[in-house]
């Protein structure tokens, strides 16, 4: 019965991600979409999300060296903390607060990297490319 302790560990990791607010109902919606036809659906979505958003964040990094960008295109998959930060970022963009933009963006990158690490642990796969 080697799988049981692993399953319990996985379940408690999942629960802690929800308790800490890293994941919300959106993640559950993704889990509900997973079925026999697409047994790795959640993992695929999350992997795709990280590949796509890593590229986006890189572009933003470059753009922020020059000027603030509109953040409305960055979508989230239920990562509550990332969403909170990007709303703040947009507010700073609208009010032309460059320092606020930079600060929020750095915080966002940190949250993003943290969530990514946790999800990589959960899915037991690294998301390429690394940030």
């Amino acid at each position: 019965m080697e799988r049981n302790p692993m399953r319990r560990q996985l379940a408690s990791l999942r629960k802690s991600l929800f308790d800490q607010g890293y994941l919300d109902e959106q993640f559950m919606e993704l889990e509900q979409l997973q079925d026999d036809a697409n047994p790795n659906f959640v993992e695929e979505v999350v992997t795709l999300y990280y590949r796509d958003s890593a590229r986006l964040i890189l572009n933003l990094d470059h753009a922020l060296e020059r000027r603030p960008l509109d953040f409305s295109k960055l979508d989230d998959i239920g990562a509550k903390k990332v969403k909170a930060e990007s709303t703040l970022f947009r507010e700073y963009c609208k009010s032309g607060n460059a320092e606020g933009c930079m600060r929020t963006f750095q915080q966002l990158k940190k949250e993003y990297a943290t969530l990514r690490k946790k999800l990589e642990t959960y899915f037991q796969v690294p998301f390429f490319p690394p940030i």
């Binding site: 959106q26 919606e29 993704l30 509900q32 979409l33 697409n38 659906f41 695929e44 979505v45 795709l48 999300y49 796509d52 409305s72 295109k73 979508d75 989230d76 998959i77 239920g78």
Partner: protein
Amino acid sequence: MNSSNGNGSMSTASSSGAWDGRDQFPAGLRVLVVDDDPTCLMIFEKMLKTCLYQVTKCNKAETALSVLREHKNGFDIVISDVHMPDMDGFELLKHIDSEMDLPVILISADATKQIVMKGVTYGACDYLIKPVRIETLKNIWQHVVRKKARNTLLEIKY
């Protein structure tokens, strides 16, 4: 339908034949979904398939437009993201409205009142805020029926 790789990419769910299953309605509803975000596109496709709809996805509005033009009467409803590079959802909506008679649902993470207002005034039959829940997608067939009913009424009148 063929998958094509042009400026954008499009992929079609495999169909066993033309949709004529009136008994199974709304199963088999032919949906075209347009979004430049690959994650959203992937989730939408899965959700729509779970609703038993026939799904075609596009990551560019221009591609969606050529697909619609190539396959007149090949779709029942269009779902499109608002903010896309090059042609956005509003422009796509304008084209569809003038060239064909299809209900268009706009979706966006942008919930600002002005944008929603713009969507509605441009003629979107609905404006959904991301993240969209599958329950909402299960009801989109109503827009198809409503439009058909309205068109039939207009025909009778005139």
